[in-house]
Amino acid sequence: MQPDEILDYLIPGIMLGALYAVIAIGYTLVYGVLQLINFAHSEVFMVGAYSALLALTWIDPSTNPTALVSVLLVAAGLAVSGTAGAATAFALEKVAYRPLRRRNAPRLAFLISAIGASYFLQNLAGKLFGRDSRALPTLFENKKVFSVFGTQVTILQLLIVCAAVLMMVGLDYLVNRTKLGSGIRAVAQDAETAGLMGVDIDKVISRTFIIGGFMGGIAGFLFGLHLQLSFTMGFLPGITAFAAAVVGGVGNIRGAMMGGMLLGIVESFSSPIFGESWRYVSAFAVLVLVLMFRPTGILGERLGRSA
């Protein structure tokens, strides 16, 4: 890799990292309030992508829409994928986790339920949408908007990073400055005592899933804008984002943002440096390295502590 190529990898790395960060927040939020890794979150991401595909091809069946139509399609895609992701996450909590919580089931039962829900959604999508790869319409024909030191930045890259950053800023505000946010933080720190304060724990947990699902669904759509869709598309980004959440310190929102960004950039640089086949190895090598030195992750504390 030549020095002048750094930006060629840094920019896609930031884009990928922003997406990982948004997905990682979904894992970390749920972990905060339930101490549960919602392994079905990768399927929320997949549902987001497919719901956008359905909506976009319904609105405009052509594969190469004009710029004006593209703007409309992006807006529709964001709305539909966010809604579908939120609805999926909401249903997941109601069906896969709440009944177990009611019965004070052991932790292992939640894990099995999570994996079961994940496979169920994955194969349901395979059945409904087919097992072949699909693609979203090519929006903006990969138009370049500006160049930084000779490296072109596309509209899509800009869009993805902006959308991700906006969601993260919005979430940070919601968690730290709103009443729902203080409920989420209180439940994460001490659920029973939060109940004594008048916090409806079930409601807070449900809304936490909705928020994480909304962000995860949109991430699925944004991801689908530059990569193929398939019913198993959630797996790799999901597991990488989960690793990002752990790297940042699971339960910590800002940690998830940092971890996602770090893994995205590392992944992007690993293919020119070590070769394409090392791409996914690198992200998990970072996970192992971080955990060796900081077993609780970079900002390893619980949700409320610094978020």
Partner: protein, 262 residues
């Protein structure tokens, strides 16, 4: 005993009140009627009867594992009794979930303080007012007046406060919900005697400002000096009850709870 017969006159206390400190006839606020509470197969409460009248400080004494905390947790809806009733101003509230019980005007400062460690003092107090649309400013001022230490540390994370400050915060947080009845679970636990005296003085003040208090304590002597009436629990049952001054001079109490005799 019929609840109606005793209305306005505490069955145990009324005879004594003439002789001792004045305990005027009061309205019954909270009644625990034959409570049986289980943790799985283990029975923690075996038919507990307790009454709290408006305006009182009632002390609930007993050793570790006697069922004091279980009693408070049942009142605030964290536990549901298998048998018996919890009545709040005559209406059954057993089985009502905790986040609704606080809305009835029952504040609970739990065992071990349980402040939200990663929130500031102010955020913790705001959590206490979660049931309201907005934080009642007057209440916040009152809490800071009762506990000037909290006012000095309002931006400090609760997890970094001393034990005594955390206890003040736990009580203040419960007050932010403007409770009619305040449940205090071992406010003296692990604190230096000077701080305990300070906190007990503040509890008296809170009571004089009109909040009824049900106080769980292992520190029986101090609790009975503060309270109007007391109950002693042993392995899930009430074994003694009466006006505080009488309990304080009762040889059985002195032996079992004040470490005398034996």
């Amino acid at each position: 005993m019929s609840a109606a017969d005793a209305a306005g006159a505490d069955a145990v206390g009324v005879a004594e009140s003439a002789a001792g400190t004045a305990v005027p006839p009061r309205k019954k606020m909270l009644e625990l009627d034959d409570l049986h509470v289980f943790y799985g197969a283990i029975q923690a409460l075996k038919g507990v009867h307790i009454e709290v009248n408006e305006g009182e400080i009632v002390a609930l004494l007993g050793a570790n594992g006697a069922g004091k905390t279980t009693t408070l947790r049942t009142i605030s809806g964290l536990l549901t009794p298998r048998e018996g009733e919890v009545r709040w101003r005559g209406e059954r509230i057993d089985g009502v979930p905790a986040h609704h019980v606080v809305g009835l005007g029952i504040g609970h400062s739990p065992e071990g303080r349980r402040v939200f460690p990663a929130m500031t003092v102010t955020e913790n107090l705001n959590m206490g007012a979660y049931r309201f649309k907005s934080v009642p400013k007057a209440e916040l001022d009152r809490v800071f007046e009762l506990f000037p230490r909290l006012a000095e540390r309002r931006e400090q994370l609760a997890g970094t406060l001393s034990g005594g400050e955390q206890q003040m915060l736990a009580i203040g947080r419960a007050l932010m919900g403007q409770p009619k009845l305040l449940l205090l679970d071992e406010p003296s636990m692990g604190l230096a005697p000077l701080i305990v005296a300070q906190i007990f003085e503040i509890i008296r003040e809170i009571n004089e400002q009109g909040t009824t208090v049900l106080l769980v304590e292992q520190n029986a002597a101090q609790a009975l000096r503060l309270a109007h009436r007391g109950y002693a629990l042993e392995t899930g049952s009430v074994v003694l009850s009466g006006p505080a001054d009488r309990l304080l001079s009762d040889p059985k109490v002195r032996e079992a709870y004040l470490g005398e005799g034996a």
